[in-house]
Symmetry: C2
Subunit: 518 residues, 2 copies
C-alpha cells in the first residue's frame, strides 16, 4: 500500500511511485529548496568536414542510438499544426522500439494519432504541460501508461530538464528554418512560428539533438535561436507542420458582453492596485477576457502617458500593436500566437525571444515571471482557498494545460484571475477545485461578473482597494451565488488509480489526477 | 623526478604536476577523445522581490563566499582599457584572501598592477590566452606561481570551462551596460565594446556570477548578451574601463611595402587554392599583413561577383565595410576591434555575436572555426615542421597570445601563415620554434616575401598550386635564406623550471614554457 501524505494545499500525495521513485509533496510556493543539479550534457566532439545532414528521421534516430526505455522530447510551437510528433513516433514504432517516454512541451488534439502507440506499449510515459482532445480523454479514462503522466508548467519543464530530473536522450527540434550545420531559427520558411522558447532547454540538455526542417537555408542561419553547437543531426522532411494550425489568429477583442464586463472590472482592480505606473510590466494569459483586459489597460496608458517596461509570455498581435505604439518598451516572447507576432519578432529588435527557462524557471538565478507586476490569468475552476484548476474539467478529464499559470501567479506582484461565475451549468467558483494547478497563496484577486474577491492573505491589497473606492466581496459569497444558479456541482467519479501527477514548478507534487469512470 | 614523455610534436611534457594532477601530452590535432564532462552548475533559487543590486565589489565578493583557493574569471573585451581585473584583485588582497587562481580570457600590459599580488601570494595561479608587457616578463623570468600558467586558445578556454576542467567559483563580468537584474549587453554605455563572446562560458558555468557595470539601464536590457538567469549580483562601479584602451582602431591597411608584398602573395595562394567561390568563408588574424590580405581578396570578390557566407573572429571596420558592400552575408563576432564594428553589431542583424565556445570549442557539437574555408594567420616563429609559435619571443619570454590560432588552423580548409622571413635580426622561419602553439599538421601554407612554402602533407594543395601556375619553395630553403641574413638564432637560456603549460585546444599539453635566465 502506497503511503500518502497531505501536502500544503491539502491534497493526498503518494510518497513513492513504482518506476518513478520518491515524490516530494508540495510545501508552499517558495518553501522547497532545490537539491544539487545532476544534469551532465554528453561530451561532444566534432571534426571539420563531418556532415550533420541525415537522409531520414529513421537514420537520425538510429545514429542517436534510439533504444527501448529512452526519453524523446518535442516542443509545441507548431501547436495544432504539428505533424512532427506523430511522424517521429510512427517511425519509432516501425523500428520496433518500445517503452518510450515522450516529453513534449504540450500535446494538442492532433496528437490523438499517438493513441495506438500508447495502446501498443511504444509510448509508456508522458511528460507535458497539457493534453487536449481525444488523446486526453483516453488517457484520463484508461490507465494505459506504465507511470503516471507528469504535468509540468512552462517554468517547471525547463527546471526539470536543466536540473537533470528529466533526462532527454533525444530532443527533436521542429525547425521552421535550419542550415545544414544545425543553426535554427523560427522566423523563416513556410512554417515560421516565431519564438522557439520552449525548445531551448531541450537542445541544451539532451544527449542528442535532432533538427527536422522543411526549409533548409544557407549557412549560417541568421538569426540563430538554437545554435549548431547543440545539434547532432539535421534532417529535411516535408510536411512537419501545417501553417493553418500553427497560427491561432485569435487577436480580436471578445464581443461577448459578459467577458467584456469582467475585463472592465479586472482593469478597475488593476488600476486600484496602484501598480500601473511608468515601467510597469504586464502579462495576460489566454482566454476570452484576458485580451480585453489589455484593451482597457491600453486606454488608460494612452490617457495617462504611461509606458510599460515589458509585456511577456505568449505574444499576440495586440501586444505587438502596443509595442509599436510605444506603450511597452519591449516584448519578451516564449511563443508567438499569430502572424503579426511572428512578423514582429523577425523585424523588431525590441521584441525579444526568451527561452522557457528565462521565462519562468524558479531554479535559475531569476526568471522574467519573477519580474512581473500584473498578471491576468484564467481559470477552469477556482475554489474558496483561491486554488486554481486549469488542467481538468469538472468531470475530471484532462482538457487543458498548466502553461505558465503557476509560474506567473507566483512571480507577479498582482495575480488576478478573470472568470465567469459559471459556464453553462457548471460553476467556476467552487468549494474545492477538481485539480490544483496553482496554489491559492499565489492568487491575489478573483474578478467575476458578480464582483471582485481578494485573497484574505492580501490585507494590503484589500486596504488599497478600499482606499481607491473599489468594492469587493468575499469569495464564499461568489461561490454561493454560483451554486444558487447551478446547484452543488457533482464530483467526478474516479478510481484510486493515479493516472497523472501535477508537478508544481519547483518539482514537488501539488496534486494527482485519478482515472475517471465515465 | 617528474616523468617526461615526448608528445606528437616532439616536445618533452611532464606527465604530472604537483597541485595540478596528471597531464595528457598532445597526440595530434584530432587524436584525443574527450572524457566525460564534469561541469555541474550550482542549483540556483530566486524568489520574487529579491534584489541583486550590491553596493560594492567587496560586498558582492563576500556574498559569493570568496575564500582562499578559489578561481576567479574575467574577460578581456576591455583589452588594454581594462581596469576591472586590477580593481577586483586589489579588493581581494584588501580582504586578506590568498591563493587565488585568476582565469582571464587574456591579460594585457595594463595588468602589470597585479605583480604585487602575485609576489604576495594573493594570486598563485593564472589561466589565460596570453600575457603582454612587464607582467609577462616577470612571470617568464621568475618562478612566482604555485602551479604553472596555463595558456589556452580561445576555443580551448570554453572547452575547459564547459567540461569542468576549469571550475570557476566567481565569474566577474565587466558589463558596458546592465540592468538591475543582471541582463547585460556590450553595445551601450561609455565603455561599449560590442560582442561579449569570451564572457559567455564564464557566466554560464561559474558557481557565482557578478556583473560590474558603470552604466545601469532600465529593465529589461535590450538586446541581452548575458541573461539574468546566470547572474547573482550586480554592482555599479565607476572607472571599470577606458574607452581609449578598449578600441584598437587599427583598421587601416598597412603601408609597409614588405607586408603588402606578403599579402599580395598570400592572396595569390588563396585564389590558387580554388576555395574562393560563392559562399566561401574567411577569417584573418591580427598582424600587419592580415588586413591587407582581406584588401586584395576584396578586389577579387568584387571583380568576380563573389559573395561569401561569413567572416568570423575578432571583427574590425574593414570587415564591416565588406558586409555592408554585400561581399559577406554575415559576420560572426567574438570580439569587436573598433568603433565601426561596435556600431555595426548594435545595428546590423547580420552582424552576429558568437560565444567563444560557438566560435572555436572543439568539444561542442560543432564550432564556427570548423566551418572556415580560408584562415590567414600570423606567426612569431614558424619552423620547418610548420609548427607555429605566437606566445613567446625567441628569447623565451611570453609576449603574445594563443588566441584562436590553433583553433582556426585546425578547423579551416586552408590555414595560411603570413610572415616575413625575419624581423630585425631575428629569423621567423627557424629549425625549431621556441614554443609550439599550433602543430605543423594544421598549417597548410607559409607565405613570406621570399616565397610560398606548402606543407608536404598537403600534396593535393601542391598539385593545385602547380596547376594554377603558383610557384612554391621548400620551407627549408626559406629557413636557410633567413639564416643567411640573421645567422643561426641563439636559443633562449632557460632553467628546468616549467613556468607555463601550453594547452592544446583539446586539453592536452602541446608544449611547456621554462623559466628564462635573462
Amino acid at each position: 500500500m502506497t503511503k500518502m501524505v497531505l501536502n500544503a494545499v491539502g491534497r493526498a500525495i503518494p510518497t513513492h511511485i513504482k518506476g518513478m521513485g520518491d515524490l516530494t509533496p508540495f510545501k508552499g510556493a517558495f518553501a522547497h529548496t532545490p537539491g544539487p543539479m545532476n544534469m551532465t550534457p554528453r561530451a561532444a566532439w566534432h571534426k571539420p568536414g563531418q556532415s550533420k545532414m541525415t537522409e531520414t528521421i529513421r537514420q537520425a534516430l538510429e545514429n542517436c542510438g534510439l533504444a527501448d526505455g529512452m526519453t524523446l522530447s518535442f516542443h509545441h510551437h507548431f501547436r495544432n499544426g504539428d505533424h512532427l510528433v506523430n511522424m517521429v513516433m510512427d517511425e519509432v514504432a516501425a523500428m520496433g522500439v518500445r517503452d518510450i517516454t515522450i516529453a513534449p512541451s504540450s500535446l494538442q488534439s492532433i496528437h490523438e494519432k499517438l493513441i495506438p502507440h500508447i495502446r501498443s506499449g511504444v509510448i509508456t510515459g508522458i511528460q507535458t504541460s497539457g493534453i487536449r482532445g481525444e488523446i486526453a480523454r483516453v488517457l484520463s479514462t484508461e490507465n494505459l501508461l506504465k507511470t503516471p503522466i507528469i504535468i509540468r508548467s512552462h517554468g517547471g519543464r525547463p527546471r526539470a530538464i536543466e536540473s537533470g530530473d528529466t533526462k532527454i536522450d533525444i530532443a527533436i527540434i521542429g525547425a521552421p528554418a535550419a542550415d545544414a550545420f544545425g543553426n535554427v531559427n523560427g522566423v523563416e520558411g513556410p512554417n515560421a512560428c516565431g519564438s522557439l522558447g520552449y525548445a531551448i532547454a531541450d537542445a541544451t540538455c539532451a544527449t542528442h539533438t535532432v533538427v527536422v526542417t522543411d526549409y533548409l537555408i544557407p549557412y549560417p542561419a541568421c538569426p540563430v535561436s538554437i545554435p549548431q553547437t547543440l545539434v547532432d543531426y539535421v534532417v529535411v522532411a516535408e510536411g512537419i507542420g501545417d501553417p493553418q494550425g500553427i497560427v491561432s489568429g485569435a487577436t480580436r477583442i471578445t464581443r461577448n458582453p459578459m467577458e467584456l464586463l469582467i475585463a472592465e472590472k479586472a482593469n478597475e482592480a488593476i488600476l486600484a492596485s496602484g501598480l500601473v505606473q511608468q515601467d510597469f510590466s504586464f502579462q495576460a494569459g489566454t482566454g476570452g477576457s484576458s485580451l480585453a483586459v489589455a484593451h482597457f489597460l491600453r486606454q488608460h496608458m494612452r490617457e495617462n502617458n504611461i509606458k510599460g517596461s515589458f509585456a511577456s509570455g505568449g505574444i499576440n498581435g495586440y501586444l505587438v500593436d502596443m509595442l509599436e505604439e510605444g506603450l511597452f518598451r519591449t516584448l519578451m516572447d516564449v511563443q508567438c500566437f499569430d502572424l503579426k507576432a511572428i512578423e514582429s519578432i523577425r523585424k523588431n529588435p525590441n521584441h525579444m525571444e526568451m527561452s522557457a527557462s528565462y521565462y519562468a524557471n524558479p531554479h535559475n538565478k531569476g526568471c522574467v515571471a519573477h519580474q512581473l507586476d500584473v498578471m491576468v490569468l484564467s481559470a477552469t475552476e477556482i475554489d474558496v482557498q483561491f486554488n486554481v484548476n486549469v488542467i481538468t474539467g469538472s468531470n475530471g478529464i484532462i482538457m487543458g494545460a498548466s502553461g505558465g499559470h503557476c509560474d506567473t501567479a507566483a512571480g507577479s506582484k498582482l495575480a488576478i484571475v478573470v472568470a465567469p461565475l459559471f459556464r453553462g451549468r457548471l460553476p467556476i467558483v467552487v468549494d474545492q477545485v477538481t485539480t490544483v494547478v496553482t496554489p491559492g497563496e499565489s492568487i491575489d484577486v478573483l474578478v467575476t461578473e458578480y464582483g471582485v474577491a481578494v485573497n484574505p492573505a492580501r490585507t494590503d491589497l484589500k486596504d488599497r482597494f478600499r482606499e481607491n473606492g473599489l468594492k469587493t466581496v468575499e469569495i464564499h459569497e461568489l461561490k454561493e451565488r454560483a451554486e444558487k444558479v447551478t446547484g452543488k456541482p457533482t464530483k467526478p467519479v474516479v478510481t484510486d488509480e493515479v493516472i497523472g501527477l501535477v508537478e508544481y514548478r519547483d518539482g514537488t507534487i501539488i496534486d494527482t489526477i485519478k482515472k475517471v469512470v465515465e
